[in-house]
Amino acid sequence: MMKTSDMTKMTYRNAIRLGITEEMRLDRDVIFLGEDIGVYGGAFGVSKGLLEEFGEERILDTPISEGAIVGTAVGAATTGLRPICEMMFMDFITLGMDALVNQGAKMRYMFGGQSQVPMVLRLPSGSGTGAAAQHSQSLEAWLCHVPGLKVVSPSTPAQAKGLIKAAIRDNNPVCFIEHKMLYDAVGLVPLDDDYTLEIGKTIVERPGQDVTIVAYGTTLAKAIEAAEFLDEEGIRVEILNPLTLYPMDMKPIIESVIKTGCLIVAHEAAKTGGVGGEIVARVVESEAFDYLTAPIIRLGGLDVPIPFNQELEAAVVPQRNDFVHGVYRLLNRE
């Protein structure tokens, strides 16, 4: 356990910046490229101050071309650099998809390991900012579908720091999915510059024995709120955070479902074809099937573009009450 004295309170945004800074200081091969990340400090202020410390050679302001950013990063990675590239919004990864999916994800496999692509793609995702349909999507399921990519999604500042460092050190392309609404979340972050979180490890955010909830991103925070609410009624909800969406560590989830017999899987991305469906499928395939006491519930975004209207935007994605009602339904309290 980390001592509290070794930790300090900071925002999610600053934790990511801290992780990047530490890695750039440790490894001269790490470069950072993206739109407006230099002088402006990034659309969400993550890269503020980096230009001053590391200079224009390592902090690269790029033209408005996501295809160019990802393509450059894949190429740079194969030459031995460790590029971090930022999409201003995750939605724009669609433009960089060819370089990422057809080149970056396949290269190590196709060249028999003689080439590798140690790059990190930072992807600010999710709704809640009123940025409407083209700037609010959560497209992680697309990325999870491509073997060769790793997909991580931290939910707290500490996780953000641990995972961004692990992602930079990983020799494969890692998609680092941030949530826009989490940037201002505050939490204790370890100051140790060797602090990393292993990729491919699911953690238990909150132990319980009545219902298992698997959630990540902002939905995790809503799940925890719901769990606190349900706690007053004597319902103990176990919340698991997969952290790595691909390759996901299913063992703790299956164990938890065996324990509780009830499962809710939640994410903000559209329900159809979402990561949640994959988790559910794997649970049902596993031994845990025999321990299910109720049909599994998937909470996901409605299958509509994210609306601009903030009321509607909130209605589209799962909220705290959806969790509460889901739990009631599983336990036949409704």
């Binding site: 164990e255 299910l292 006491t293 036949n332």
Partner: protein, 620 residues
């Protein structure tokens, strides 16, 4: 009425069987056969079919084995005896077939739907009828709606999951519902340790549980809370402090610490126990408390309790025999000694034949008993056959009637000793109350409330107070239900069925009105869900609307009692010292006396009467 129809062939069978055993031989049987066969050509065909069926059967019906045994015949009589047997088989089969065809005719009418070939050339107006005849088979019919966990528990404990009553949404059977079914018979279950087996523990590993790939061994002491609850319950039971029925009693682990002779079986005998709060172990012998709470003395129980040491000795002497057999052995001798009724003498004998045919010395059984057995045993096998047939049933239009009646017929005769109690209820107060509230209730429940609704409420309340009336009997154990599912006999176009109002104990008056209304509507529209078709814990039958003043009914199988409701009529009664006209109704309780005795039944009726005569009591 419906009884008589079906019993008729059975009586014939009885006669035939009696004659056979009296060695009146082939001629007599043949005449009977002729009598039956000459009736109809169709029936003769059925006879042929049945005969073929019988020949195809590999296992002999237990009855024949029995007939062979008492009479140790010289060789020259063998032929005759075989003939006799064959005839008897055919006869039995023929009567079965007749019965079946009769029922089908009653149910479906004589006309047959036009075959595919014919249908093509039928005129248009006739075709309009055909969509009705071709009913899409509902894929849900015959399937059990249950959670995976419930199925697993049913599998592990070898319980038939379709016997559970679903408490979940849409009657889904959940793990707890299956747990209610799990009762372990004494002597069939051994413990290596006094501790229950918990998945992931070393005991579980011993039990060779191959699953649980992810379970890490945990010491029993480390398992929190639930464990202590179970322990506490165990303690409480041993102290014999509890008087009230404990709804979870079935699942409290009970370890017979006094019994030194307990055979320590290997771990593979130990059933897997998936959760600590569910350890279904019941040892009747070591449990006087259990008897107090939910097990009433039955003839068999009395035997267990009277000479436990004797049983223990026996098990030492003959370790080869499973304990169950020994008990039956014991039972049988006891039956000989005591002067018993026909019923009591019959029961052990039937058990003897069906389950332990290899026990050699069967004492000379009186002839009339053999006759009874001959009459009954084939029906049991028939029941099994029917059950299987019904299991694969796909056609939802098929009537439930044969099943219900057969259950009545077969099981009841063998297994119940019924008493009836009748009381009169003054319905004047209820009548007034109903007038006052009927409009309001109709607004809320969308159905008009009836006297039956008041009776349902009073009954469900009384059943909670008298769990024995709301119990089921399983061989030698009586298990009180923790829930009240009231079956209502309803006339449908296929005859009487018994749809069920589930969990009546939790309902208030409006919910009962609504529940009953929905139920009748579902029956009328033929949308009755499978889970409401069976699974009653108590039955109410009402013939009041036909002007029947008072009657008794046959106990629905697996229930221990049935309440028959008569007509509400105006009679002069002395009320507060004055002769006045009051509305009165008679209700009768038919009660299986081996589950509960007359006093239990009387108290039960008393409670209903009190509630009904002072409906304000229903508020509390």
């Amino acid at each position: 009425m419906m009884e008589n129809e079906i019993i008729l062939p059975k009586e014939k069978l009885d006669m035939a069987a009696e004659n056979l055993t009296n060695a009146a031989t082939a001629e007599l049987a043949a005449t009977i056969k002729e009598d039956i066969v000459l009736d109809d050509e169709k029936q003769q065909a059925a006879l042929h079919e049945a005969a073929v069926d019988v020949n195809a059967e590999t296992e002999p019906i237990p009855t024949e084995a029995e007939i062979k045994e008492p009479a140790e015949d010289p060789a020259d009589e063998n032929f005759e005896e075989n003939l006799e047997e064959n005839l008897e088989e055919k006869l039995t089969a023929a009567i079965e077939a007749l019965e079946r065809s009769l029922e089908e005719t009653i149910k479906e009418g004589i006309k047959e739907p036009p075959s595919e070939a014919v249908r093509g050339i039928i005129k248009d107006e006739m075709m309009e009828e055909s969509p009705e005849n071709v009913i899409e088979p509902d894929p849900r019919v015959g399937k059990v709606r249950a959670t995976p966990a419930a199925r697993r528990i049913a599998r592990e404990f070898k319980v038939e999951i379709d016997k559970a009553t679903g408490s979940g949404p849409n009657g889904r059977i959940e793990a707890d519902d299956v747990k209610k079914l799990v009762v372990i018979q004494p002597g069939t279950f051994g413990y290596k340790s006094k501790e229950p087996v918990v998945i992931g523990t070393s005991l579980d590993k011993l039990a060779g549980n191959p699953s649980n790939l992810f379970s890490t061994p945990v010491k029993l002491e480390e398992i929190p809370e639930k464990k202590t609850v179970a322990r506490k319950k165990l303690k409480d039971m041993n102290q014999k402090t509890e008087k009230m029925p404990n709804p979870e009693l079935d699942f409290v682990p009970f370890v017979d610490e006094n019994n030194e002779n307990r055979e320590v079986k290997d771990a593979d005998v130990v059933t897997k126990v998936s959760a600590l709060d569910f350890v279904p172990f019941v040892d009747l012998k070591a449990e006087p408390l259990r008897e107090e709470i939910i097990v009433k003395p039955t003839p068999m129980h009395l035997l267990y309790e009277s000479e436990p040491e004797d049983l223990g000795l026996k098990s030492k002497k003959s370790p080869g025999l499973p304990r169950k057999n020994q008990i039956q052995d014991k039972n049988e001798t006891e039956a000989k000694e005591t002067e018993t009724t026909d019923q009591a003498a019959n029961e052990p004998a039937v058990n003897e034949i069906n389950e332990v045919p290899e026990v050699p010395e069967v004492p000379a059984v009186p002839e009339e008993i053999i006759a009874e057995i001959v009459a009954e045993a084939p029906q049991e096998s028939e029941l099994a056959g029917y059950y299987e047939e019904n299991h694969h049933e796909k056609n939802p239009t098929r009537s439930v009637r044969p099943k219900v009646i057969r259950k009545y017929l077969v099981k009841n005769k063998v297994e119940t000793a019924v008493i009836s109690l009748t009381t009169e209820i003054d319905m004047t107060e209820i009548k007034d109350l109903r007038k006052k509230i009927t409009k309001k209730i109709e607004e809320q429940a969308r159905y008009r409330c009836t006297y039956t609704d008041f009776l349902l409420l009073a009954t469900s309340r009384a059943l909670v107070k008298h769990p024995l009336i709301n119990a089921r009997r399983e061989d030698d154990v009586v298990v009180a239900h923790t829930y009240v599912n009231i079956g209502l006999t309803v006339e449908s176009e296929h005859g009487f069925i018994v749809p069920v109002i589930l969990n009546a104990q939790t309902m208030n008056f409006v919910e009962i009105v609504k529940g009953r209304g929905d139920l009748l509507k579902a029956v009328k529209n033929k949308h009755l869900p499978q889970d409401q078709l069976e699974g009653s814990t108590f039955t109410i039958t009402n013939l009041g609307m036909y002007g029947i003043r008072e009657f008794t009914a046959i106990i629905n199988q697996t229930n221990s009692a049935i309440l028959s409701v008569g007509e509400v009529v105006q009679r002069i009664r002395i009320h507060q010292g004055e002769p006045v006209v009051r509305s009165v109704m008679k209700i009768s309780l038919n009660l299986d006396q081996r589950v509960a005795n007359g006093v239990d039944g009387a108290k039960f009726l008393q409670d209903i009467k009190a509630d009904m005569e002072n409906p304000s009591l229903l508020l509390f």
